[in-house]
C-alpha cells in the first residue's frame, strides 16, 4: 500500500473537495433570502451549531500553524490551546443567551447590525464593520496560505513541480464556489462533516504520534528535556510572560471572533446554548490533540536524529503525515486539515461580505445595497481574491515570510482587541457607551497594526495583540464609568435585563 500513498492521499482530498462543492449546490437551493445567506434562517440544531462553533475556532492556524509552533517553541503555544476551556465558558456566559435574545428582537443579519442596535450608533456599526473587514483579510489569508501549503506538499509528491501560486488559486476557487453558492447554510452544514472529520483525524494522529517515538510522550519529553528543559517546561522557549499574554489573548479573544459568535445567533432555541457549550468545548479539546502531538513528536524525532530537520516549522504536520502515518490515515487527516481550514475560511468570507454589502453601506448612507444577496456573492469572490493576494504577499513574496500561526495570531488579535469590549462586555453592561466602544475599537486597531507595521519588538515576547486588548478593555471600562449611562431602546433594555 505504501507505493500508493500519494494517490491515496490525493484521492481523499479530491473526494473531500468534491463533497464541499456538492454541499454548496445543495445549499444553494435552500438559500432564498439574505437572512438565509448570513444567518442560516436561525434554524440550526444543537449538534450543527456546536460543531460549527468548534470547527470555526480550530482552523488552518491550529492544524498547520499549531504543530509548527510546538515544533519551533516547545510548550509555549500550548497556552493557546488550554485557554479554550475557560475561553468557551467566557463566550457562552457572556454571549450565548444575550446574542440569541438580540436575534429575537432585532433580527440582525450581522454582528455590526447588533452593535448598531445596542449602541444606537451608526459610527459604532461602521467601526465594527471596518475592524471585521481588516481582521478577515489577515485571518482569511492565513487559511488560504495553510491550505495551499498542504496542497502543494501533496501535489508535489504526486505530480511534481506545482507552484504555491497555483495551489493558492485552486484553494481559493473551491472555497469561493461553495461559499458563494450556499452562503452560511453551506458553511454550517459542511462544518458538521468537517468537525466530525477533524475529531476522528486528531484522535488517530494522537495515537500515531505516540507510537512513532519510542517511549511515547514520556520518551518525547525526556528527549526534548535533555536538549533544552525550557522547551518542555510550562512556558516553552518563549518564557512565562509571553506565554501568559497568549493565554489571556486567546481565552478572551474567542468572544470577539465574529465568525464564531455570529453562530450563537443561529440556533433554534435560546436554551440550546446550555448544550452547545459542552459540545464545542469537548470537540475542541479532542481535536487539539493533533496540535500538541504532531509538534512534540516532530521536535523529538529531529532531536533524536530520526528525522531530518524540517525546511520550515509549518512543514511539521505534512511531514509527519507523509512519513509516519498509514496512507489511509494520512488521507483522512489531510482531508481533516482541509476541513479545518475551509470551515473557518468560509465563516470569514461570510462575515466579510456582510460587512461590505450590508453594514458599511448602512452606516454611511442609511440603507444597505439593493439586491443584497447578489452583491453578497460578488463580494465574497472579491474578498477571497484579495485575501489570496495578501496571503501570497505575506507568506511567499516577502523577503522574510510569516509563519502560518503567527499570521493567524495577528488576525485573532485584531478581532479580539476590537470586539471583546464592544460586543462581549457591552452587550452585558447597560452603562457601556457608544463613545467607549468607538474609542476602544480605534485604539485597538491603532495599537495592533502599529506594533505589526512598525515591527515593534515587545520585551519578553509579549504579543502585541495582548497589549491592544488590555488597552481597549481599560479604555472601554474607564470611559463608560466616567460617562453618564446611555439611553437604551426599550427592547434592547429588555434583552440586557433578561
Amino acid at each position: 500500500m505504501e507505493e500508493y500513498r500519494n494517490p491515496i492521499v490525493l484521492g481523499f482530498v479530491l473526494v473531500y473537495m468534491a463533497l464541499c462543492v456538492w454541499v454548496g449546490i445543495w445549499a444553494l437551493r435552500r438559500t432564498k433570502s439574505t437572512e438565509d445567506f448570513f444567518m442560516a434562517g436561525r434554524d440550526l440544531g444543537i449538534f450543527v451549531t456546536g460543531l460549527a462553533v468548534f470547527s470555526s475556532t480550530l482552523s488552518g492556524f491550529g492544524f498547520v500553524g499549531g504543530p509548527g509552533l510546538v515544533y519551533r517553541m516547545g510548550m509555549s503555544s500550548i497556552w493557546m490551546v488550554i485557554c479554550a476551556s475557560i475561553g468557551y465558558c467566557i463566550s457562552f456566559y457572556l454571549l450565548g443567551k444575550r446574542l440569541r435574545l438580540f436575534a429575537e428582537v432585532r433580527s440582525p443579519v450581522s454582528l455590526p447590525d447588533a452593535v448598531a442596535a445596542r449602541y444606537k450608533s451608526e459610527t459604532s456599526r461602521f467601526l465594527t464593520a471596518i475592524a471585521i473587514l481588516l481582521g478577515v483579510m489577515g485571518y482569511l489569508a492565513t487559511q488560504i496560505m495553510a491550505m495551499a501549503t498542504v496542497l502543494q506538499d501533496i501535489l508535489n509528491r504526486t505530480i511534481g513541480g506545482v507552484s504555491i501560486e497555483v495551489c493558492v488559486a485552486a484553494s481559493c476557487a473551491v472555497l469561493v464556489f461553495y461559499c458563494v453558492t450556499g452562503g452560511i447554510i453551506a458553511s454550517v452544514y459542511t462544518d458538521l462533516v468537517q468537525g466530525a472529520v477533524m475529531m476522528v483525524a486528531a484522535v488517530l494522529v494522537f495515537f500515531a504520534a505516540m507510537m512513532a517515538f519510542e517511549g511515547g510522550f514520556a520518551g518525547m519529553s525526556e528527549t526534548i528535556m535533555a536538549d533544552d528543559p525550557e522547551a518542555i517546561g510550562p512556558w516553552g522557549t518563549l518564557g512565562m510572560i509571553g506565554a501568559l499574554s497568549w493565554y489571556f489573548l486567546f481565552a478572551l479573544g474567542g468572544a470577539g471572533q465574529p465568525h464564531i459568535i455570529t453562530k450563537l445567533m443561529m440556533n433554534k432555541k435560546i436554551k440550546d446554548a446550555r448544550n452547545i457549550l459542552p459540545i464545542s468545548a469537548v470537540a475542541y479539546a479532542v481535536s487539539a490533540l493533533l496540535w500538541i502531538s504532531i509538534g512534540l513528536v516532530m521536535r523529538a524525532l529531529v532531536l533524536a536524529g530520526e528525522h531530518p530537520e524540517l525546511s520550515s516549522p509549518d512543514a511539521a504536520a505534512p511531514q509527519f503525515l507523509q512519513s509516519y502515518a498509514h496512507p489511509i490515515l494520512a488521507g483522512v487527516v489531510f482531508a481533516g486539515l482541509f476541513a479545518a481550514i475551509m470551515s473557518t475560511a468560509d465563516g470569514f468570507l461570510n462575515v466579510g461580505a456582510a460587512a461590505v454589502v450590508h453594514d458599511i453601506p448602512k452606516a454611511t448612507r442609511g440603507r444597505s445595497l439593493n439586491n443584497e444577496l447578489l452583491w453578497a456573492r460578488i463580494t465574497t469572490v472579491i474578498i477571497a481574491v484579495i485575501a489570496s493576494l495578501f496571503a501570497l504577499f505575506t507568506g511567499v513574496w516577502r523577503p522574510s515570510p510569516d509563519l502560518v500561526a503567527l499570521m493567524g495570531a495577528f488576525g485573532w488579535a485584531t478581532f479580539a482587541a476590537a470586539l471583546v469590549p464592544t460586543v462581549a462586555i457591552g452587550f452585558n453592561w447597560k452603562r457601556a457607551t457608544a463613545t467607549a466602544a468607538n474609542v476602544a475599537i480605534i485604539a485597538s486597531l491603532a495599537v495592533n497594526f502599529g506594533i505589526k507595521l512598525f515591527d515593534v519588538q515587545v520585551p519578553y515576547g509579549v504579543d502585541g495583540g495582548f497589549i491592544a486588548l488590555l488597552l481597549s478593555l481599560i479604555l472601554f471600562f474607564g470611559i463608560s464609568l466616567a460617562s453618564e449611562p446611555p439611553e437604551l431602546d426599550p427592547d434592547i433594555r429588555r434583552v440586557m435585563e433578561a
Binding site: 500550548i78 476551556s85 514520556a218 517546561g233 510572560i241 493565554y247 452603562r431
Partner: protein
C-alpha cells in the same frame, strides 16, 4: 455596578504589573528564546532560572489577576444579580481550584528551572503536567455549572416566555 468596578480594578492591576515588567525590569539577552545552534528552525529557551529570576513573581501576580478577571467575566455574564442557589459558592470554589493550579505550575516550575529538569508526571515534567491537566481542566466546573443550572440561573423558562411574549407584542405594534 460592583462587578464592572471590580473588573476595571483587575484590568488596571494587570496594566500596572505588565507596565512594571516591560519598562522597569530589563530583559536578559535571551529572555524569550534564541535560535537552536544545531537546528535553525527550532528555538531554545536557555537557562530558565536566570531568565525568569526577575519576572517570576510579577508573572505569578499577572497570571492570578488574569484568572480572576476571566472568572469575574463569567460572574458578570451569568445572573444579572439573580441569586438562585449555591451557584456563587461553586463559582468561588472553581476559582480557588483554578488559581491553585496556576500557582502550583509556578511553584513547581521554580525548582524545575533551578535543577534544569526534573521528574515526569503523566508523561510530562511536573510543572507542565500542572499546566496541561490542571489549568486546562479546572474550568470544567464552570462549564458544568452552565449546563446543569442554565435554567433557572442563566435564564428561566418563565423569563423566556415573558420575553418572547413582550417581543411579539412589540412587533405587533
Amino acid at each position: 455596578m460592583r462587578i464592572p468596578l471590580l473588573l476595571f480594578g483587575l484590568l488596571l492591576g494587570m496594566g500596572l504589573v505588565l507596565g512594571y515588567l516591560l519598562f522597569m525590569v530589563p530583559e536578559t539577552d535571551v529572555g524569550h528564546g534564541f535560535t537552536h545552534p544545531d537546528y535553525p528552525t527550532m528555538q531554545r529557551g536557555g537557562d530558565g532560572a536566570v531568565r525568569h529570576e526577575a519576572v517570576l513573581a510579577g508573572g505569578r501576580l499577572l497570571g492570578t489577576l488574569m484568572i480572576l478577571f476571566m472568572v469575574g467575566l463569567l460572574a458578570f455574564g451569568s445572573s444579572q444579580g439573580r441569586k438562585i442557589g449555591g451557584e456563587e459558592i461553586v463559582m468561588i470554589l472553581g476559582t480557588v481550584v483554578f488559581v491553585t493550579c496556576f500557582l502550583f505550575t509556578v511553584a513547581t516550575y521554580r525548582s524545575y528551572a533551578a535543577q534544569g529538569g526534573g521528574a515526569l508526571a503523566l508523561s510530562f515534567p511536573i510543572p507542565t503536567a500542572w499546566m496541561l491537566y490542571g489549568i486546562w481542566g479546572a474550568p470544567i466546573v464552570f462549564m458544568l455549572l452552565y449546563m446543569v443550572r442554565f435554567e433557572p440561573w442563566i435564564i428561566s423558562d418563565a423569563d423566556i416566555e415573558k420575553f418572547l411574549a413582550e417581543t411579539a407584542a412589540d412587533q405587533e405594534r
